[in-house]
């Protein structure tokens, strides 16, 4: 549904993209993560025909973004990093304008827009000029604007930046439903939790190159190990606990301040072993947490290795 091959983009001497390739199958979400200036927005702008690529090819919904721009535009929706709405018009008039331009009749446009305003919780401010909207309202209007025409492919450039938790969950829910409906979504985000939660696959972009890609689970497996942390009850049982772990061929680290012992594990069954060792040491457990590596870990470790690799 989205096929990117060897895409490069240069702005004068700045090389925003240096040979990016990936595909997004129909009806899935690809999460694009990367630091500021990694090239996420440039990539989205090329895919939505706002910018021509310097070299390489990109196809969206089966059409080439350079040679078949019109066909691409008939099938996509974009929520850019910065709201693209008419500030002088009301939220409702903004959406009606878009619906009419996309081919809805006067009445169909009005009811389509009323529905969108409802689900984006904008009904109460619908008739106010958009310049009076809060940042989050603007963002929601922009999101609504990109799905007015029910496009096949949607690009979301940091869609939840500036949204409150409720609106963010709404947006996540929306993306999930778009996908359930067969829409293909490419989203960029700074929130790794968001990519983790929504995306079937993730591409990590750094300085215009794909640093890593895969499912969230694969990426995590590459860096992270899981670990179990137990909080010990009263009594100076830390050393005893470590000794018990050692006898079971496990290595733990004791945190005196938190009175906790952390043990790396490679499968869930090992949690029972750790608990067994604690019983053996006579320690009472006050708490137990299994820590999964997060995409933050992935991101930071990849960035670290990239930095050392390039120096």
């Amino acid at each position: 549904m989205i096929e990117v091959a060897g895409l490069t983009k240069a702005f004068g001497a700045t090389r925003a993209l240096e040979g990016v390739s990936f595909t997004v199958p129909e009806g899935t979400v690809l999460g694009l993560i990367g630091h500021n200036g990694a090239g996420k927005t440039s990539l989205i702008n090329i895919l939505s025909t706002l910018l021509p690529p310097t070299s390489g090819t990109a196809r969206v919904a089966g059409y080439d973004v350079v040679r078949q721009g019109a066909q691409v535009r008939a099938r996509i929706g974009l929520t850019g990093q910065f709201a693209s709405i008419d500030e002088t018009m009301s939220g409702r008039d903004n959406l009606i304008l878009l619906a009419r331009l996309l081919g809805a009749g006067r009445r169909a446009a009005a009811s389509r827009v009323a529905y969108l305003l409802e689900i984006f919780r904008l009904s109460t401010v619908a008739n106010r000029a958009a310049r009076t909207y809060s940042g989050g309202m603007r963002r929601r209007l922009d999101l609504a604007a990109s799905i007015v025409g029910r496009p096949q492919v949607i690009f979301l450039d940091e869609p939840t930046t500036g949204l409150d938790p409720e609106a963010r969950h709404d947006a996540w829910d929306l993306v999930q439903q778009l996908v359930d409906d067969g829409t293909t979504v490419l989203l960029t985000t700074q929130y790794l939790e968001e990519a983790d939660r929504l995306a079937k696959s993730i591409v990590v972009l750094a300085a215009g190159r794909v640093l890593a890609s895969g499912t969230p689970a694969q990426l995590k497996a590459e860096v992270g190990e899981r670990s179990v942390t137990v909080v010990l009850g009263d009594g100076a049982v830390g050393p005893a606990a470590l000794a018990a772990l050692e006898r079971a061929n496990l290595t733990g680290t004791y945190d005196r301040a938190r009175r906790s012992v952390t043990v790396p594990i490679h499968d869930a069954a090992m949690v029972a072993e750790v608990v067994g060792c604690m019983n053996e040491a006579g320690a009472r457990l006050d708490g137990l947490t299994v820590v999964e590596p997060t995409l933050d870990d992935v991101y930071l470790s990849l960035k670290g290795s990239a930095a050392t690799g390039s120096e």
Binding site: R73, S84, I85, L102, A104, Y115, I119, R150, D286
Partner: protein, 281 residues
């Protein structure tokens, strides 16, 4: 002991039914798009606060010119039997047409700075739609201004040309055509330069000498030779001749057709340039 404030299971999100939005849309026809966008640009007609300055301007123009230049009707070369207001008003129409054309460019640069233009560029929109809508909306606004000028001219300044109402409307059409073609030139400049300030300067630099080195306020016979030579090739002189000829009921076909053809040719050249410039990111 640790306390959790967030419940382990988040409340289920409200499922919205996306199918309620309606079927996919793939873009209206080009004509519909132009009409919808023109309607948007014409919101100014519905807002008195925005329209009033546009109407005060022609009134002031007429007042100033008719008072300042009235004495010119006494000079020997002035045509007999024509009152100065009958002579002047078609030139004011043309002057307003010229200004309206320059304004088209400025308004387009405002359009291009509007955030929504980025969205338009990702939508199935015909390239010319935004430009043509600007042109239509400005023509409509210009028509209102010109009509207003004719009406106050007749009511307050005693404008009663020999060509009657038909002649006056004919003069107005010439002014509209001029506005239309100058509008396309300035829209092309806007898409190429993308700089409203330089546009305003170019507009001023062109309008002023073209209006004054013409037969707008005086007959060219009274001008120094070099200025007369310029005035006679000045396209505005031809447009004014056509408008004046129609209003005074003394137009010959070539007098009217020649400037209209020039307008059409100008648009044919400027419009593709504007469209190409618009497509540029």
């Amino acid at each position: 002991m640790s306390t959790t404030l967030i419940p382990a299971t988040a409340p289920p999100p409200a499922r919205v039914d996306l199918s309620g939005i309606g079927p996919p849309l793939h873009g209206a026809g080009a004509l519909r798009q132009v009409l919808v966008l023109s309607g948007r640009s014409l919101r100014v007609l519905r807002e008195p606060a925005l329209l009033v300055p546009n109407l005060i301007e022609p009134f002031l123009l007429l007042l100033l010119f008719s008072q300042v230049f009235r004495s010119l009707a006494q000079v020997p070369s002035f045509p007999d039997g024509v009152s100065y207001i009958d002579y002047l008003l078609p030139a004011v129409l043309i002057s307003m047409g010229m200004t309206s054309g320059v304004k088209s460019g400025l308004l387009l640069s405002t359009d291009l700075r509007n955030g929504v233009i980025t969205r338009f560029r990702t939508m199935p929109l015909w390239t010319g739609a935004v430009l043509l809508a600007r042109s239509f909306a400005d023509a409509a606004l210009n028509a209102v201004e010109l009509l207003f000028l004719l009406v106050i001219g007749a009511l307050l300044f005693g404008y009663a040309p020999a060509g009657g109402i038909a002649g006056a409307l004919g003069a107005m059409l010439v002014a509209l055509s001029l506005a239309w073609s100058v509008g396309w030139v300035f829209m092309a400049l806007t898409t190429l330069l993308r700089r409203p300030e330089s546009l305003q300067q170019i507009g001023g630099m062109l309008t002023f000498p073209l209006m004054f080195a013409s037969n707008a306020f005086v007959t060219t016979d009274g001008l120094p030779t070099w200025l007369r030579a310029f005035a006679e090739v000045n396209p505005l002189t031809h447009a004014i001749n056509a408008a004046r000829g129609l209003a005074l009921g003394a137009a010959t076909p070539s007098m009217v057709l020649w400037p209209l053809c020039m307008c059409a040719v100008t648009v044919l050249v400027a419009a593709p340039v504007a469209m190409r410039g618009f497509r540029r990111p």
